[in-house]
Symmetry: C2
Subunit: 247 residues, 2 copies
């Protein structure tokens, strides 16, 4: 019970970033090699302290995005993921981190930031498989970010955030396949995405070609919520009882 003299204990606030992108059809996350203690020399998610008492949290996330990844937050998707405050998560003391999820299209190779000795894109599979590990509770944060991405591309247009301004339907399919981790039928995918009102806007008869038949170009449509959603099939180990079988 708080008495008259009790004062709430102050904590230090950081932002951490799960920045995802697609490189050669594989899902990558941006990680840094820590240049300072604790966990010096280990891999970690980019992030840092709130810079001053007047800085909004999302502004801090945007700033770190710029400082540590040289990415412009105005052009890419950024959302709050969750707040991680286990008392023992940081050996320096009570440090609470507001994690964010960022989705970036394409490519630019990142540069080392202020307190990171190296920053690089790494396939997420390196971490989910356990081959590489992350400092602090960043493994948990990454898992939560991936799960958020997996479920959110089901019923929102988030997948378009992985693509450039204009893209083909096959480009979009690569996003779904990389995030979900299995392949989809191109013919059914092709019609399904176009059947969702407001998901995609065709950009005038423009096309682009590499090897096969040229593909139509689209851009993200006005609708953020996908109805009907792009439901991923259940894992193949489950035998889904159909409504008729159940009766």
């Amino acid at each position: 019970m708080p008495n008259e003299t009790w004062q709430p204990p102050p904590v230090l606030l950081t932002v951490d970033l799960v920045i995802l992108t697609l490189r050669s059809s594989t899902l990558h996350v941006l990680v840094i090699e820590r240049g300072i203690a604790p966990y010096k020399g280990h891999w970690a998610l980019p992030g840092g302290f709130i810079s001053d008492a007047g800085e909004d949290i999302v502004d801090a996330a945007r700033r770190e995005l710029r400082e540590e990844a040289d990415l412009d937050a105005t052009s890419l998707h950024l959302e709050q993921l969750g707040t991680y405050g286990r008392p023992d998560r940081d050996p320096r003391g009570r440090i609470v981190s507001v994690a964010h999820l960022a989705i970036a299209p394409g490519l630019p190779e990142p540069e080392a930031g202020t307190d990171a000795s190296a920053a690089s894109w790494c396939p997420v599979e390196e971490f989910t498989s356990g081959r590489r590990s992350l400092a602090f509770d960043h493994h948990q944060i990454l898992d939560d970010g991936l799960e958020r991405a997996r479920t959110k591309i089901e019923h929102t247009s988030l997948a378009t955030a992985f693509c450039d301004e204009t893209f083909t339907i096959t480009d979009l399919q690569r996003v779904y396949e990389a995030v979900w981790g299995f392949e989809l039928d191109p013919r059914n995918f092709y019609r399904k995405v176009q059947a969702v009102p407001g998901f995609l806007t065709p950009v005038g008869s423009d096309r682009r070609t590499t090897r096969g038949r040229p593909a139509r170009l689209f851009q993200a449509g006005p609708e953020h919520l996908l109805r009907p959603p792009m439901m991923r099939p259940l894992p193949p180990d489950q035998n889904p009882p159909t409504q008729s079988e159940t009766k």
Copy 2:
């Protein structure tokens, strides 16, 4: 750029709670009348400061749930909603709040807690309609909590958290209707929920009755993710173009 002497600014951390329940088929939220400044005498969401530097955030939420609402957190749904840290959100200074969403079944009339002069269930419609207002940015938090509930009962079993241990399918339908704000066909609803594998487990031939034919009793099943999801129909103002019309 942080120099050698720079120290991250400490902030004060609070937890706030959006506690939802159903009373006579209407969605209610628990609000308190603030007993202390700021906003003394205004309505607000229950919440409070982290009690000490070693308290985990979710533990703080559980504690506030007990202190301010006399609810046992072990038996009800509690999840993190989001973190609100606009620099000007609290006139006392830089106070960051980790909001949580709690779902409670039924009934007990709450009692006034430590720094709340009154606590009571209030229909959410009072706030969403603008008839009543909330202190701080709690209106935003409530809106976010409601939206989270609306979308989450679509593809998770969250709706069962509004019900008692055992419940009828009509009970469950009332939850969906209250949260979504419109009525559903009982006959289609009846079969739809039972067609989702793992959503409901029938409890042995038990029944219960008030006026009509006795209804079967169920309890929450083992599955947390609903496949297929309980999709709400789109708002009636939209004319959904069918796939065949689109072609």
